[in-house]
Symmetry: C2
Subunit: 360 residues, 2 copies
């Protein structure tokens, strides 16, 4: 659309020039788009991702394709990015698809699924499995085209006031955790709580909640939770990796010249690599600082993990029975994930298990 409208303008331009016929007809249009993020500026890894993206796109298009970033709440609230892109309020957004599981539970597979894929496995499924194809089919009914937009790696299980020694300790636990993982944990008696990041500290201090999960050391450090809930559990079985996504209004996407579409896609890949690399570089020193400030690192034991795995399997089955789109994507996701797990258990795991315990 954009391209056709540009050609029309160029023709008019040439018409004005009449005899001189300037050779500028092939030049690409100047565009100014708006991107809404689901994240506040304070989370510089997440909010920073579309900045990396927009910078790459602007430079590759010789300064012509500009995307202006708006933090959560500046144009639309954090969790209305999908709606804003769908409705054409803005051209594009950056978000985590699983925020929209209320619209369709199948959205979780674009972000994270309990005991699901790790960062590399998720990228493999998206790019060389059926992942991207399946997620695009789902997004198509929302007039949206989705792209890879970064990854966090395996997240931490969160901050707990008391130790979790057995599945019994989960009963009645008021845990700040949302979405599909909340659904899984509620089977074990957890009472999932929804709470904005800014309110977690005081809720834990007052005891209004017993535990809270967020992301990983670098982001968690900003909330200062070690003082009010020192037990820092791992891993987040519900987020072996969390994938972020760029969403583009379908009509706007179709209007782009092919060169801009190609530059867009490449910029998404740049962002995809960069975000995970940034987390992987920033998390280790943040974890050290957290431990120095009093956090106590604890691993969910096998009895807890087993109970959570069983509850996850039940939730997958229930959701598959309820939602055919969920079933379709999950059936593909699980086969791919199981095959990945088998291979990653060989060279990758043998290397990690030995090497990560040695110092060079």
């Amino acid at each position: 659309m954009q391209r056709r409208s540009f050609l029309k303008k160029a023709t008019i331009g040439a018409g004005v020039a009449a005899i001189g016929a300037p050779a500028i007809a092939q030049s690409l249009p100047t565009l100014n788009w708006r991107l809404v993020s689901s994240f506040p500026k304070s989370l510089d890894t997440l909010y920073g991702a579309p900045e990396i993206f927009a910078n790459s796109l602007r430079k590759a298009t010789d300064g012509k394709f500009n995307v202006k970033i708006f933090a959560a709440g500046e144009v639309v609230p954090a969790l209305q990015v999908l709606d804003a892109v769908q409705n054409g309020t803005v051209e594009c957004g950056h978000t985590a698809s699983y925020y929209y599981l209320g619209k369709n539970s199948a959205f979780i597979f674009d972000t994270a699924a309990p005991f699901g894929m790790t960062a590399r496995q998720q990228s493999a499924w998206m790019l060389h499995g059926n992942g991207m194809k399946l997620m695009r089919e789902l997004y198509a009914s929302y007039n949206i085209v989705n792209f890879l937009g970064g990854q966090t790696g395996t997240q931490m299980g969160g901050w707990f006031r008391k130790e979790i020694k057995s599945p019994e300790d989960l009963k009645g636990l008021k845990f700040r955790i949302a979405g599909f993982a909340g659904q899984v944990l509620s089977k074990l008696g957890v009472v999932p709580q929804q709470l904005p990041a800014g309110e977690i500290y005081s809720a834990l201090e007052k005891g209004t909640i017993d535990a809270a999960e967020f992301v990983g050391p670098y982001d968690d450090e900003k909330l200062g939770l070690a003082k009010v809930a020192k037990n820092y559990y791992y891993p987040a079985f519900w987020e072996g990796a969390a994938g972020l996504s760029f969403l583009v209004n379908k009509k706007q996407w179709d209007s782009l010249p092919p060169a801009y579409q190609a530059a867009w896609e490449a910029a998404c890949f740049e962002t995809h690599v960069d975000m995970c690399a940034k987390y992987d570089a920033l998390n280790p020193p943040a974890l050290q600082r957290l431990l120095e400030s009093g956090a106590v690192l604890r691993k969910f034991n096998t009895s807890v993990m087993d109970a959570c795995f069983k509850a996850s399997q039940e939730t997958y089955a229930e959701e598959s029975a309820k939602n055919p789109q969920f079933k379709k994507i999950f059936d593909d996701y699980r086969v791919f994930r199981n095959m990945e797990a088998q291979w990653f258990n060989v060279a990758e795991q043998a290397f990690a298990q030995y090497s990560f315990n040695k110092k060079l």
Copy 2:
């Protein structure tokens, strides 16, 4: 802006009509570059990477910047990619930097180092540590600018005619393995052999060599080694990940318009994600097929790994004493790698150890 840009064009059009001078001075140049690969076409993951790259670059530059790929041997031999780029025989290349450790042993850190970083850790070091800065300093003395060009993930240890039950079994072993890893293993009595891929099968069949390492299941399958050396060992402690690189002649790089430089960089990132995703998608079914065809999966035991780790540490120390550039990069590499290992041992490993042993 769309409107303003139209107005501007209309104005230029009118101006041209007045004086008759064509307004094409700002349009970007058409370029045709040659890229030499270190890999044969048969290795479609490795040879295919610059194809992904060139396709992205061509499309993002509206068909103007074309890079033609030449397989190993078509313009220069496989291991002379660096020289060809340095001398300006071609504008650019795609290779593994550690092939050039004969020129400078510090080149290994751009590809893989024994008990070194995994794929994600390597990307983190390159992009958000000092890795890229240090490697660029090294490459600058060869008139080359380097870029990320894909990763293989942790490789397999290779094919062995006999079992390796203790470090004693390595003594006198004629092992097809090159470079720095060969140096490490020679400390344990291994006799490293250099052999083109096409000659491995018959050498193993005849017993001219006792073992051979290559890449991972997908590439290894093509060599058909399960029939002549069925013990398929893991992991390659010398390649926790192997990074590939794009190399560009410095003068050629500097001659590029900034828009082409930006499109180039983004296309490198696209390739970087895509290659690893492709390996991660293709290796699992290849491993299954190899096992069905008679390969026997074996893990290097702790006594073997311990001996190799000790030999690696000695080799690092010796090389650091000999080569100040090696020492400078290794000192940075090891500190980063040790910190990464500590963090990856928490959430990432706890998730992998539990989850990879379960089927969804």
